[in-house]
Subunit: 306 residues, 4 copies
């Protein structure tokens, strides 16, 4: 069955009662102040159709969803071995910001979606791009067709004020020779990427290349090769949902990437890109109602990769 406005609206109303059971991220005020009642979903089919329900057009802080975008840029700029000798491809089995495994594995992060791995990717972009922050912004504006996308300066500044843990991660990797630039500017870019404000519709359009063998449905541009697309989806499926990737695969069965702003992007290869938003998080840091909405959508339309 194809996703319809009707199906999405029903799902939105059915998951709404879950609001109150999760917890909005509160480590910075800019996130803590978001209304927990926000709830939106957008589907962007490979035919170019946009189907939405709820707050699908309201921009929010995409946070770690940006890690998939930064990795895409790195894959466009570097040979595979240049990336994968510096960051692994395995699930971490630990919290996203832990230094324990990083020390035991000599400064090589487990994958590009835990903080350490994303900071290595930010370091890679810093080494090769003259203005990585501007480049990323142009990239998402182009892919989404939304020229109003901006960095939320308040969020980015606030993240910088709480950057000690990530600074520790960067310095630890530098002590192992796996970080090449100055720590502060790289973290600043990293936090700006996290502070991108995008709506569900923006996200679904932006990530459409992952559902379409690397070609953006919106711009028709080939962003990455079909093989790279398969690889990136594989990384998302095994590592994209913090320490809840297994549960997400079990329940939803789609490659995805979540952020502590409450957004999740999920891919049905060959068919569609989905984005949901609900700020309250479960224990793993993934949107609680958002995950449930994707699970229901998977069931209703009979789609998953498994």
């Amino acid at each position: 069955m194809k996703p319809t406005k009707q199906i999405l609206s029903t799902i939105i109303s059915e998951v709404k009662p879950l609001i109150g059971q999760g917890k909005v991220a509160d480590y910075i005020p800019a996130l803590a102040n978001v209304a927990n009642s926000k709830l939106g979903i957008a589907v962007y089919t490979n035919d170019g159709e946009v189907i939405t329900a709820g707050d699908a057009d309201e921009a929010f802080s995409i946070q770690s969803i940006s890690k998939a975008l930064s990795l895409t840029l790195a894959m466009m700029l570097y040979k595979p071995e240049e990336i994968w000798q510096r960051v692994g491809k395995e699930p971490s089995g630990q919290a996203f910001n832990s230094l324990i495994q990083l020390e035991m594995e000599h400064g090589i992060p487990r994958n590009p979606f835990i903080n350490a791995g994303a900071i290595v990717v930010a370091d890679l972009l810093q080494s090769r791009l003259s203005a990585p922050r501007q480049r990323l912004l142009e990239f998402v504006r182009g892919l989404s067709g939304d020229s109003h996308i901006v960095y939320d300066k308040v969020v980015a500044a606030s993240e910088m004020m709480h950057s000690d843990r990530n600074a520790a991660i960067a310095y630890l990797m530098r002590s192992f020779g796996n970080f090449n630039n100055e720590v502060i500017p790289v973290l600043n870019n990293y936090f700006h990427a996290c502070a991108l404000k995008m709506s569900c519709v923006d996200l679904a359009k932006t990530f459409s290349y992952l559902a379409n063998k690397g070609q953006s449905v919106h711009t028709k541009k080939q962003i990455i090769t079909p093989t790279q697309t398969k690889q990136l989806n594989a990384l998302l499926a095994t590592c994209g949902l913090y320490d809840g990737a297994g549960e997400f695969a079990y329940r939803v069965g789609m490659p995805g990437k979540s952020g502590v702003g409450g957004g999740i992007v999920a891919i049905v290869p060959g068919e569609m890109t989905i984005a949901v938003w609900s700020p309250e998080l479960d224990k793993s840091g993934n949107s609680l109602a958002g995950t449930r909405a994707l699970e229901m959508l998977s069931e209703r339309i009979g789609r998953s990769i498994f």
Copy 2:
């Protein structure tokens, strides 16, 4: 493109040169003595067609591949919550036989495919079946249509003589209240499951229900529900390849389960079940040439879940 005898034979000859680059499991003589030159592949399509190349009909020790069969039996016998309150669904990020995470997470194994998790599953089967070992044997004989499948008694006995690490795992779980039977009989059953001797053809036929929404292609019996099938494939995709699940997803892109005997089973949902065998293992403990064969097959026939 559909898999053909020609494609499989070409792949076999192309991966043959990899032999010598891996390492045959040698912790027990019965495994160490297997010729490292063995190399076989079998595809069983959902139409019931069997396509093979190399040593596809020779039986070998399936080892950890049996963990997916034991879990299937447990899913047939127990309600989901009865299983998943005792074992998790997340990748471990650690070696398959480590006790570190198990202690830190209070005796709840990360997933049913690391040793600790499989031992919990064996404990579940022990509690509910009068003769779990016989039941498992009948299960695979039925699914494969091969009534000659047996337990390799030498392997099983040899495993029991090297069972200290697994006994430590079982006792540690029992100290946390997550193990209910006597340790020795459960380990004995666990090692017998690992000592099943099956060929690539046997394995491909046996696991066909995972490619066919829970219904065995060979027997037409519904083994588990479509939802359970999706769930089990999801668990295999995130946790089925030891600490190499991410790399396997990246390169092959199919749910799978490996064993240190050198076998790997991989699933293309809706289409086919594949089994390969080559005894030499890579650093993660997965068949080196077997993984490469699956990677090539995925490329040649253009199939993966991503």
Copy 3:
């Protein structure tokens, strides 16, 4: 100043108000049922004088204090390198019954006073003595001059019923080749040693060789050499108080060994042996009021090793 009956009585009355602030060990009923109000102290000087206050003559379960006795026996039976290649001499920095470090350090326990180390010592005794349990009993009866000392059979049996964690430790060490006998009999002896019932007076007399260059004050027998005595005191000072050895050294400043029965033995080399008993434990598992009593005694008589 020399310790007097007066000083000990004053200390007992001054630490009494601490009762209620700790927690009696409750993992087995036989320990949980001990009255938390028990409080005793005994000093045995190198001149052979016994000074006591409170419940100094009442026998209690010495638990881990026995680890120092078992190690003494092992030092009498083995060459140093035979012991110290199988167990280390360093503080663990972890809980006494953790398997994490044991796995990371390949089955070699950090020191002979954590459970793993004491189980290795029990394995050593098992290999060389025909009746280790009887031998230990004779050893303490002789040293204390108290022929009524017995094993508390109820405690020993109860420990065996809660032995899963220690069985896990033994099997893990066996998997690394650092355990040579059958697990159950060794654990049984280990638990019997823990179940020795001795009073403060018994303990102070028994351990007098540690204050007297290896010669028992009571029997005049040379138990171990002066060098071995120095070594054993050093091990007690750095590792004898679970993960509270640093705090104990900081406050009390004497080599010591504690047990979860609430007993502590402390040594003033060249002068005296002290034993205290108060069943309530602090967070590290050491007697709360007992530690305070030793701290006060150290201050009042101006004695410590520092």
Copy 4:
């Protein structure tokens, strides 16, 4: 027996053959370039006598020995609870520069002699002293009576260039709220303290307060109280020799502090202060020949705390 020039000279000649069996610290050139043949010892008795042998008057980089001096300063400036709520008193059971335990224990270092703990102490000094670096220099010049003691600027600068690991430690503690100043200036002071150049004679005189109930033998000034002295010696005995404190206590039996420059200070409370120097280190990072020299001295003069 009292230590004599003769005894020290004999020890020096007897340990000389050990040179070549250890490894000079080489993480910065300024340390790597020190001649491995250097070997000196100085004893400073509580009567004020100086006895020396070998290169006892040659200044070397005291490195972590400075951690005991910085802690002394902190104990002079802060109430005990102000210090000990921010740093523990227990041995770490891990490498001196590990972040693993620090993360697991929420940013509270195990003791003041591992890097994390010493960085907390440096942070404490930074908060309360206007010129901590100058103050420390005056402190050691006064205690040693040697006004020529300086910071080795080359060593300090070189350490700053290899400070990534320590920066990671500081930032990790800051993320837990256990670090209050700017990271770079504190690390700079920390590295300067490590870069103090002092001879064995300087060190023995400087630390004489630890052998003399807190009163400097040289200046007659009361540096810390007798109780603080006992406490500090206790910390040195359990935590002063990296992850080799147990072995050092077992062999030498004196409170001590080592540095990767090859120096070790050891205390015989009530009698004397000893300093040795030999640049080659054992596996724990303690001077190999220096430890052996102290072990022999302990045996020859019959002195240890045990």
